[in-house]
């Protein structure tokens, strides 16, 4: 009883501090702060879940990062900074990781955040009964027994994560993983409050039930309309959280969202209407921004028997890739500062050195000439055997535009005809996974900031290698890179093989273009995974 009182008191005090003694100036930069510390941003889609262990997409992750806090967070450059953990040290040659947790971290109901919460959450993620679509993520962190648990062959309690005491977490891995700490920044490994989860079942994340440990708490949620999150007075660093409230509005249509941004209803929006960035930048120079984003856009070739046999010929694949004028796509279609791509891993990937791909140095005229030569040599195209390829893409304005432009490039330069097939997402995934295509529009976003998240995709057994490209040397190199102290040499060799064999046709490396009102500050401009934390944002007073 006494305890409860105490908590109520501290909660009230913290709330009081949050409102009555609101800061006038930013504690670090000294900028004058606005009265209004609310932020409204746009969600492209309703997030399916706020359960950290069930989450599998980015819209929800933006919210989860605010209302929960993992062991480690990222700063504006994507570098690691303490979250709940203050220290992390490897031992046993990167096979054991020990995390020291801060003692002042609390759940929003006042309970302390302990190592047990993490252990519970991680077991929950791997447990087949949870049915998490991201349980594979626990598996790739290499935590001991994760694979067996996910497969249902071992008890979840055998997971190699253990609370040494309330504030020390020890993790044992099956094989050494130098970037294990990076992986704890993702939602799957965030802690959850055991009592709450067990008491409310699937609905534990609803605003009236949820107990969370982040800088904000979920306040209201109306599906497909909006949600709000308010400052969490129990958060250990609440004194330095400036925003009082964050509102997310679901607006599906890009153009509609932009109109509402311009009307002043939104402070931030990304996923701008395709092709509009240069105009916006010219008109609103202090509101339009572009940052690198860890995704790579490519066309996959079908290497299986169900694909057009011509694609088995490396010359045909090279001709198709050479004939794509990436500069036109980037400059004239997308116009968002994207980079033409000739290799797979994104150029901004941490610690990744861009390989020099030979054909990237040719002019487009040289590429076109070579492409014509190759396709003639292979006996297809103009004057040869007619070649018609089925190109699939999922419904989206920019995919449609790129597919249309590329099909015209192939037609005019090579005489290769294309049948464009646009499908909605689920059908597209099914068709792609069943290799019922010749060429498939694809893209891959890094799960974590390391080149293997891209290059692993083209190993024989990867779940997203839908073209079924297979090369023993690539498999070997990628397997070896996992434990290598300097994997860069392997990555370069893999990229060279991919380019020579034209395993895929890389098209461009993503950027994230967004609009942000000038009085909102603290937005990370260099985090390639687009991980932003609202606790760093604030609104300055207009002069």
């Amino acid at each position: 009883m006494k305890m409860k009182h105490l908590f109520a008191y501290t909660a009230a005090a913290a709330l009081f501090a949050g409102t009555a003694f609101a800061m006038d100036t930013h504690p670090v930069t000294g900028e004058k702060l606005a009265e209004n510390q609310e932020l409204t941003y746009r969600l492209m889609d309703q997030f399916p879940t706020l359960d950290p262990q069930l989450n599998e997409e980015t819209v929800g992750f933006h919210v989860i990062r605010d209302i929960f806090e993992g062991l480690i967070s990222q700063d504006e450059n994507g570098d690691l900074i303490p979250g709940v953990a203050t220290e992390w040290t490897p031992s046993n040659e990167n096979k054991t990781w020990t995390f020291t947790l801060r003692q002042d971290a609390k759940w929003s109901n006042g309970d302390p955040v302990t190592a047990h919460d993490f252990v519970y959450a991680w077991k929950r993620a791997a447990d087949p009964a949870t049915g998490s679509p991201y349980s594979w993520y626990v598996e790739i962190t290499q935590i001991e027994n994760a694979g067996a648990i996910v497969a249902g062959d071992a008890d979840p309690d055998t997971l190699g994560a253990r609370a040494v005491d309330d504030y020390t977490l020890e993790v044992n891995l099956d094989s050494p993983l130098p970037y294990f700490p990076n992986m704890t920044t993702y939602a799957t490994l965030f802690p959850v409050h055991q009592e709450t989860v067990e008491a409310h079942g699937a609905e534990w994340t609803s605003p009236e039930n949820i107990v969370s440990n982040g800088a904000f708490m979920l306040d209201e949620l109306v599906l497909n309309e909006f949600h709000t999150r308010v400052k969490n007075p129990m958060y250990w660093d609440a004194d330095n959280v400036i925003l009082e409230k964050v509102t997310g509005l679901v607006i599906n249509d890009h153009n509609q969202a932009l109109t509402r941004y311009l009307a002043g209803e939104l402070d931030y929006m990304d996923d701008l209407p395709p092709g509009q960035f240069p105009n916006l930048q010219a008109e609103y120079p202090d509101e339009a921004f572009v940052t690198p984003r860890l995704c790579s856009y490519y066309y996959a070739f079908n290497f299986t028997d169900s694909g057009n046999p011509a694609l088995q010929d490396v010359r045909v694949r090279q001709a198709l890739s050479y004939a794509i004028d990436r500069q036109v796509i980037v400059d004239n279609v997308l116009k968002g500062g994207q980079w033409p791509a000739y290799n797979f891993a994104h150029r901004a990937t941490a610690g990744f050195e861009m390989p020099t791909i030979e054909y990237s140095t040719w002019t487009q005229a040289e590429k076109d000439a070579k492409a014509k030569e190759l396709i003639t040599e292979a006996g297809y195209g103009i004057g040869g055997e007619p070649l018609t390829l089925k190109l699939i893409y999922n419904t989206s304005e920019s995919h449609r535009q790129i597919a249309t432009v590329i099909s015209q490039m192939w037609k005019q330069k090579l005489g290769v005809e294309t049948t464009l097939e646009n499908m909605e997402w689920k059908t597209y995934l099914e068709i792609r996974a069943n290799q019922e295509f010749d060429v498939a529009r694809s893209a891959w976003c890094g799960d974590y900031n390391e080149a293997s998240t891209f290059l692993d995709l083209l190993t024989t057994t990867h779940g997203a290698n839908d073209g079924k490209y297979s090369n023993e040397r690539v498999d070997e190199l990628m397997a070896a890179s996992k434990t290598s102290m300097d994997p860069q040499a392997a990555y370069t060799e893999v990229e060279q093989i991919l380019a020579e064999e034209m395993a895929i046709a890389p098209i461009y490396h993503y950027t994230q273009a967004f609009m942000k009102k000038p009085d909102i500050k603290g937005w990370p401009l260099n985090n390639v995974e687009n991980n932003w934390y609202s606790k760093n944002h604030y609104r300055v007073a207009s002069e």
Partner: protein
């Protein structure tokens, strides 16, 4: 119009025949052509039809070729221009909008007319039969319609396009399958109020076969409402199609339709490329107007009660 009437009178005079009693249809035709709005509508439809059929011969570009000089600077340079052959300007990818409008017109008109035809033939017969026979048969028939209508049409279409893959044929079948339902209900509603009339009762009393009664006596009396509704249907079919395009389930690139053109034009309209919505929307609007006025003209002309 005056010309046509004038000529027919002249023909009659030339042949030196006595003025004969005119048939109902001749009567109707004369009444129709007296209606200026309807005649104008007919002319517009004729012109739009010509545009769809022969437009591609006038186009300087094909509907899929990209004008690489314009790609990327459509907003500044892509407007209508006689010199480079883009009479209607270009779309957001630098493709000739004239050629694309011609092609879109073909698809949309086809969708509208096929949908409406299916609806008229199946819907009228179905509704009239149900209404005339009445009782259990009516109940069963209309419950079937209820069931089909209770599956909202978008679902049928989305599912069909998803399950069987999208194609123009699937779009026809999908729209045709759904479009007759409304017509059936309307035809039945009208039949219910007609079937107690004396001429029907007389026909029943003299032992005319039900099918004959439906075709001879009921259906002609439904024509007014059916035609008015059918003229509403052609545009709504075209609008359905545009809705499907809006959801991203419409015809495949590089083919297009009015709906797809208007939809992509509408998404660009706040950025100043108004020709991209203007030209397709113009054809869309005048065609639908024309259908409406022709439909009204037909209604006035065919209205049996005016005789």
């Amino acid at each position: 119009m005056a010309l046509i009437v004038g000529r027919s009178i002249a023909d009659e005079l030339r042949n030196g025949e006595a003025v004969q009693g005119r048939s109902l249809w001749q009567d109707a035709r004369a009444r129709f052509f007296r209606n200026r709005a309807a005649t104008t509508g007919l002319v517009v439809l004729f012109l739009v039809g010509c545009f769809a059929l022969f437009g591609q011969h006038l186009a300087a570009w094909s509907n899929e070729d990209i004008d690489w000089n314009l790609l990327g600077s459509v907003e500044e340079l892509g407007g209508p221009n006689w010199e480079n052959g883009h009479y209607f300007g270009v779309d957001e990818l630098g493709r000739d909008l004239f050629a694309r409008t011609v092609q879109g017109t073909q698809v949309s008109l086809m969708v509208g007319i096929v949908g409406a035809l299916v609806s008229v033939v199946i819907g009228t017969l179905y509704g009239a039969t149900a209404g005339f026979i009445g009782g259990r048969v009516d109940g069963a028939m209309m419950r079937t319609v209820d069931i089909l209508m209770s599956i909202p049409y978008m679902f049928v279409l989305i599912l069909m396009l998803v399950v069987f893959g999208r194609s123009l044929l699937m779009l026809f079948i999908g729209i045709g399958l759904i479009s007759w339902l409304d017509m059936a209900r309307i035809a039945r509603g009208q039949t219910l109020s007609i079937k107690n009339k004396e001429f029907v009762e007389a026909a029943v009393a003299t032992g005319v076969r039900p099918l004959t009664i439906i075709l001879r006596h009921i259906v002609p009396n439904l024509l007014g409402v059916v035609i008015v509704y059918a003229t509403l249907l052609v545009p709504s079919m075209i609008i359905y199609e545009s809705f499907i395009s809006f959801l991203g389930l419409g015809v495949q690139e590089p083919n297009t339709s009015w709906g797809a053109l208007i939809n992509s034009g509408a998404s660009q309209m706040q950025y100043g490329t108004l020709w991209q919505i203007g030209f397709p929307l113009f054809f869309f609007v005048i065609t639908l107007f024309a259908f409406f006025f022709v439909g009204d003209g037909l209604r006035d002309a065919l209205d049996p009660k005016d005789r």
